[in-house]
Amino acid sequence: MPFMPVKFNLQKRVKLAQGLWMLYWFSVIAGILIFSLGIFFKIELRKRSEMMDDNESHLVPNLLILAGMLACGFNAFGGKVCHDSLDPMKFSKWKPMLKTYLQLCCGFNILLVLVSLLCFLMQFSVYLTLAEGLSYAIRFYKDTDTPGRCFMKRTLDMTQIEFRCCGNNNFRDWFEVQWISNRYLDMSNDVVKDRVLSNVEGKYLMDSVPFSCCNPGSPRPCIQHHLTNNSAHYDYDHRTEELNIWTRGCREALFSYYSSLMSSIGVLVLFTIVLESVDMAGLKYLSTALETMSEPENPECESEGWLLEKGVKETFSDLLTKLKTLGRTNQVEGGDAPETPAAFASI
């Protein structure tokens, strides 16, 4: 008893082939979209790899690029087969490959499921990488003369301006690091000496933030220095002042950006999986409809198409028996091999 059989006449077969051909070209476009999104994601990760301590995992974008290319290839081939299916001579050369092709498509769908799962799960690893990378970035902000870190200041400033954020968790992270290079500190000055001596590590700490933390929407000119000292500025209360500098932390800002990107890509991959499954089902119906023509010479005869030749349970048990026989054949071959040389010897 075939699984979900459908009766086909010539008109229905032609309509199915045409509809499936259009669907395959749609899927090719979806494949191109996934490919380009993979490249875009890779570029975005590269752009801010300094913020992630050059340690970010490129697994997801690489898989997306691979999946996009495979999708294009598989779907273009499927479209070609559909296009040829209405001509019996052209279709006969594709017939033997169809079974392997459908199995490959099945495997590809499983890969796509894996990719979409990774899109949602790898967000945790991005979060952790960002936390690590940003704390290093803030520490190396002042090292504009150290090769390999000289652009850290610029990158961090541009990130804070672009993402409207300040510090790792919030602006107070800047109070805990020395973000002014010693080259610009007058060590003979008493104030500087006091500050440097006031903490164990001898760092010049202050309650100030860099200019990139400033919020342009503030009604008053930006207050960067002596942030916690109300008397240092006229009519200023640091507890109620909200618009002066960005209150959001950069880890949160960057993470929400990347997580929304990864979530949308994941949703798109899920949509592609549905599309691919529909393509596979359509191709299975088309190939079975063309194989079971009651009169192969007469193109207008009736035929029947199905999804599976036997029921789901029977197909599953068939697969299991096949796997078992494969295992057993290996064992039998192992047993036969030592006998044959003896047989030859006896001849």
Binding site: K153, R154, M158, F211, C214, P219, P221, C222
Partner: protein
């Protein structure tokens, strides 16, 4: 003697009609492009209209939008006519209007050329608008509590960050105006009172710039205040310090941005004009080759197509005569009407 005559048989006519139809669809796309460029330019002007004192001229983008719409409709009509030209019955209904259509096309092409020229020339009034607008923008930077100007600070800050510029001509423009609102100045402090009394207008001037002038590429944290005072900062010489704040003035930056945009739009409009001239010439050949069939009943007969029926000089004198005749015709009509009323 016709200008640039070409002999046509059926095959050549069909090929010509197909090519011109194809070109007309390209021209429709070009019209859509001109329309979208006009819209983009209008949006960009609106986005920064505060910096141009809400005084900027929207003439050019409106003209581009209008020309884009007209181009789309003209070219779609031309494409339809070309499509029908191979069928004598369908073509007969278009034949009558074709001459007027071609004259209209020639006029439209001339207008396109004028638009392209305007794109290149509009840079000059834009320079004055920007200079005025930016000066006022900086004056109203501190008025974050005045309705209508409360967003000037944010607009100016975001613009200086985005275009990497500072002030009108350069950063010293900020030294000449008060950009800190009086609400945040402590008038009981001696320093503040000294500064205010030190100049005629009673403004709080200082040699400092807003934070948006800071250059992130500077190796040292940004020096915004007391910029001309070398002793206020360690190891600082304001004559040699290059990377601290943006050196470019915002008028220059905005002008080069808008100027570049207008140059690109002008170049594209010139290309579209050339395409339009091409399709007009093609349509003239289609029209003349179909109207000069040797044997109107037989579609396979030979015919001749031309650019102008007579030579350039003769066509010109013809047009002049027609205009004179029209002038005389209206005079005669008036004379007759007068005679008629009298009698």
């Amino acid at each position: 003697m016709a200008l640039l005559p070409v002999k046509f048989d059926l095959k050549k006519r069909v090929k010509l009609a197909q090519t011109v139809w194809f070109m007309y669809w390209f021209a429709v796309l070009a019209g859509v492009l001109v329309l979208s460029m006009g819209l983009f330019f209008k949006i960009e002007l609106r986005k920064r209209s505060e910096l141009m004192d809400n005084n900027e001229s929207h003439f050019l983008p409106n003209l581009l939008i209008f020309m884009g719409l007209v181009a789309c409709s003209i070219n779609a009509f031309g494409g339809k006519v070309c499509y029908d030209s191979l069928d004598p019955e369908k073509f007969a209904k278009w034949k009558a209007i074709l001459k007027t259509y071609l004259v209209f096309c020639v006029g439209f092409n001339a207008l396109l050329l004028v638009t392209a020229l305007l794109c290149f020339l509009m840079r000059i009034p834009m320079q004055f608008t920007l200079a005025e607008g930016l000066r006022n923008g900086m004056k109203y930077y501190k008025d974050t509590d005045t309705p209508g100007r409360c967003y000037m600070k944010r607009t100016l800050d975001l613009m200086q960050i985005e275009f990497r510029c500072c002030g009108n001509d350069n950063y010293r423009d900020w030294f000449e105006i008060q950009w800190v609102s009086n609400r945040y100045l402590d008038f009981s402090a001696k320093e503040v009172r000294d500064r205010i009394s030190s100049n005629v207008d009673g403004q709080y001037l200082m040699d400092g710039v807003p934070f948006s002038c800071c250059n992130p590429s500077s190796p040292r944290p940004c020096i915004q205040a007391q910029m001309t005072n070398n002793s206020a900062h360690y190891s600082y010489d304001h004559y040699t310090e290059d990377l601290n704040v943006w050196k470019r003035g915002c008028r220059d930056a905005l002008l080069s941005y808008y100027g570049g945009m207008m140059n690109t739009i002008g170049a594209l409009v010139i290309l579209v004009t050339m395409l339009e001239v091409g399709v007009t010439v093609g349509m003239q050949y289609v029209h003349s080759s179909l109207s000069s069939l040797a044997n109107p009943e037989d579609p396979e007969s030979e015919s001749e197509g031309w650019l102008l029926e007579k030579t350039v000089k003769e066509t010109f004198t013809d047009i002049m005569d027609k205009m004179k005749a029209m002038g005389k015709g209206s005079k005669v009509e008036e004379g007759e009407a007068a005679v008629a009323t009298v009698s």
